[in-house]
């Protein structure tokens, strides 16, 4: 029996990697900095997941359950990795509680951090109570309380969703597309229309990137079945007038400035690199890619390889990623970590 494999992070990627390795009969140590497993979908209280439509607490809850019940997975909550020394087959990790763990290889599933909308002050988050984020709307829905204006608890009559908040914006050093916000926003728009049929929902976009098969289920369906309206405009600023929010920008398709009152403004916040990535980079001696995510080697030789042999990476630690793809990457990286632990080096066909 080889030494255990270290998995850092207990979100969808970490949970799948642990499960995959357990199925192979491989012991793992799963380190999670928070007091519970589940990652962003659980911690941020997501409602129905894209694209399955299943409630996050059911879907991810099932993944947590099977890991917690598995004897081959040693879960360490409230714990971080302070030091990681050694080489493939004989790594030693020092944890925040002072304990040392031997590991044959490691998989980093450290995820992302939601963009903090306060960094775009012109859009009023943090200034006006009825300017909220997509994560907050997810919580309104998942808590069962419904979509209400935080200021007075009333049902909104008109909601504006602003896309690309913290994405594709050189002003704040974030050039990447966060990939899932378009689909998530269309999903939320439909949820709002379903709960509040009298509420009109407008989505202000630069481009709509409901990629692949999500096009039908989110972009088309939101327009065709739920009459969600899409306006091509990047909003200049959000101000307030009485209890209304004033959204200013340019409707680019008619070349005209707009100043429209709304009851609620929802900001589709993007995915930042995990705030701890500099620290993770130093502890695990892995290089970050230029945007600040954990750098990943190309996939032609092995899956999820980092700049350090024996340390692998999967999920949104490598860049904005969907839950489904994070899970697929984690399974692939788990196999790579497993073969590395067996002392097998995969070589290209000779």
């Amino acid at each position: 029996m080889t030494k255990p494999i270290l998995i850092v992070g207990g979100g969808p990627a970490g949970l799948s990697a642990a499960h995959m390795l357990a199925q192979l009969g491989q012991k793992t140590v799963l380190v999670e900095k928070l007091p519970h497993l589940g990652g962003a979908p659980i911690v941020s209280g997501y409602a129905k997941l894209v694209p399955s439509g299943e409630w996050a607490k059911d879907a991810i809850g099932g993944m947590i359950d099977r890991v917690e019940k598995n004897k081959l997975v040693d879960v360490r909550l409230n714990t971080t990795v302070k030091d990681f020394k050694g080489e493939p087959g004989k790594f030693v990790a020092t944890l925040s509680d002072g304990k040392k763990v031997e590991a044959a290889s490691a998989v980093l599933c450290t995820g992302f951090t939601h963009f903090d909308a306060i960094n775009k002050p012109e859009w009023g988050f943090g200034t006006f109570p009825d300017v909220v984020t997509t994560a907050q709307v997810e919580q309104m829905i998942s808590s069962g309380k419904g979509v209400r204006r935080p200021s007075d608890g009333n049902k909104p009559q008109r909601v504006a969703i602003l896309l690309c908040v913290g994405s594709r914006d050189r002003q704040i050093g974030r050039e990447w597309c966060s990939k899932i916000c378009c689909s998530v926003s269309a999903n939320l728009a439909m949820e709002i229309r379903e709960e509040l049929p009298d509420c009109h929902v407008y989505i202000y976009y630069m481009d709509i990137r409901t990629f692949g098969l999500l096009e039908t289920k989110y972009y088309w369906r939101s327009q065709e079945e739920f009459k969600v309206k899409y306006i091509k405009a990047r909003i200049a600023e959000v101000t307030a007038q009485g209890d209304k929010l004033l959204v200013k920008g340019e409707d680019t398709l008619v070349k005209r400035p707009i100043t429209i009152p709304f009851d609620m403004v929802v900001q589709a916040i993007g995915m930042d690199p995990n705030v701890d990535n500099m620290l993770l980079s130093a502890v695990f001696d892995v290089k970050l890619e230029p945007h600040g995510y954990i750098g990943k080697a190309n996939s032609y030789g092995t899956q999820g390889a980092t700049s350090r042999p024996g340390v692998f990476v999967a999920g949104s630690a490598t860049g904005p990623e969907t839950i489904d793809d994070s899970i697929a990457q984690a399974n692939a990286a788990a196999l790579a970590a497993y073969t590395a632990a067996q002392g097998v080096t995969l070589k290209a066909a000779e």
């Binding site: 009109h200 407008y202 709509i208 088309w220 009459k227 398709l253 008619v254 707009i258 100043t259 009152p261």
Partner: protein, 263 residues
């Protein structure tokens, strides 16, 4: 200062006072020129539903503004202001005043349906052009256009007899649109036809002018059923556009005046 790109600004948005003195300084003429703002301050959310309630307009909410319809458009090639993509957007967002600027062009759609064939989302732009022209008429923004006159003349005959007699349709259309039957081109056409046409055809046409063709038993069942359907459809359309409400409001305003006169 002179406005350089004046061509980009609508003439009515450029304001200047011929005689204006502010604080003792004469700023008459172009010295007082300013451009009024064209800010969109609200969306008329009813507009899309109203167009969708008219035949042909049902799929308007699908449009994602790719512009294929305008690119394919036969009329746009001749009249650049004819822009289905743009009008669909105005309707969807409820920018009514903007749409009304083009009210005298929209009916010019020739129904070639190139837009319908090219549309990636099955919006049927041709139908929307028809629905929009109808909407403009029903709302009183435009006069009844020749195409509607034709439709009415056509339907009137169908309702009465179950068939049409082309000569009569033509005469009804010319009468309704206030045109003389004695058009040079029409006289010429009749002359040429008359020379080539076999006698029994001419005879048959003459008979049909006196005894219009009809489907036997038409008014017993099919005719009334068609009338009822048309009546119901028109009623639904009026309701969707809030026209009956407008009429009853107008009547409510008139009535008290009558009462006062009676007193």
């Amino acid at each position: 200062m002179a406005i350089h790109e004046k061509s980009l600004i609508r003439p009515e948005d450029i304001k200047s006072q011929e005689n204006l003195v502010i604080d003792g300084i004469d700023v008459s003429g172009h010295w007082s020129t300013f451009i009024s703002a064209r800010n969109i301050t609200d969306y008329n959310e009813k507009m899309q539903d109203e167009i969708a309630a008219l035949p042909g307009g049902e799929n308007i909410h699908r449009c994602w503004q790719c512009g294929s319809c305008t690119n394919a458009c036969t009329v746009n090639a001749l009249e650049p202001r004819f822009n289905p993509r743009y009008w669909i957007y105005l309707i969807r967002m409820g920018l009514e005043s903007e749409l009304l600027r083009d009210k005298d062009i929209i009916w010019q759609c020739v129904s070639c349906n190139k837009c319908t064939n090219i549309c990636p989302r099955d919006v049927v732009p041709e139908g929307i052009m028809k629905a929009t022209a109808k909407w403009l008429e029903l709302k009183g923004h435009t006069e009844v256009n020749p195409s509607t006159h034709f439709d009415e003349a056509f339907m009137e005959q169908i309702s009465a007899t179950g068939r049409i007699e082309e000569g009569k349709t033509m005469r009804m259309l010319f009468k309704r649109t206030g045109r003389s039957l004695f058009q040079d081109w029409l006289i010429e056409m009749v002359k040429r036809i008359a020379v080539k046409m076999p006698m029994h055809y001419v005879f048959g046409m003459g008979i049909e002018q006196i005894i219009p063709p009809r489907v036997s038993g038409w008014r017993k069942q099919l005719g009334p059923a068609l009338d009822e359907y048309v009546h119901e459809s028109e009623k639904k359309q009026r309701q969707a556009l809030g026209l009956d409400q407008l009429i009853s409001m107008a009547q409510a305003e008139v009535r008290p005046a009558h009462h006062k006169a009676a007193e």
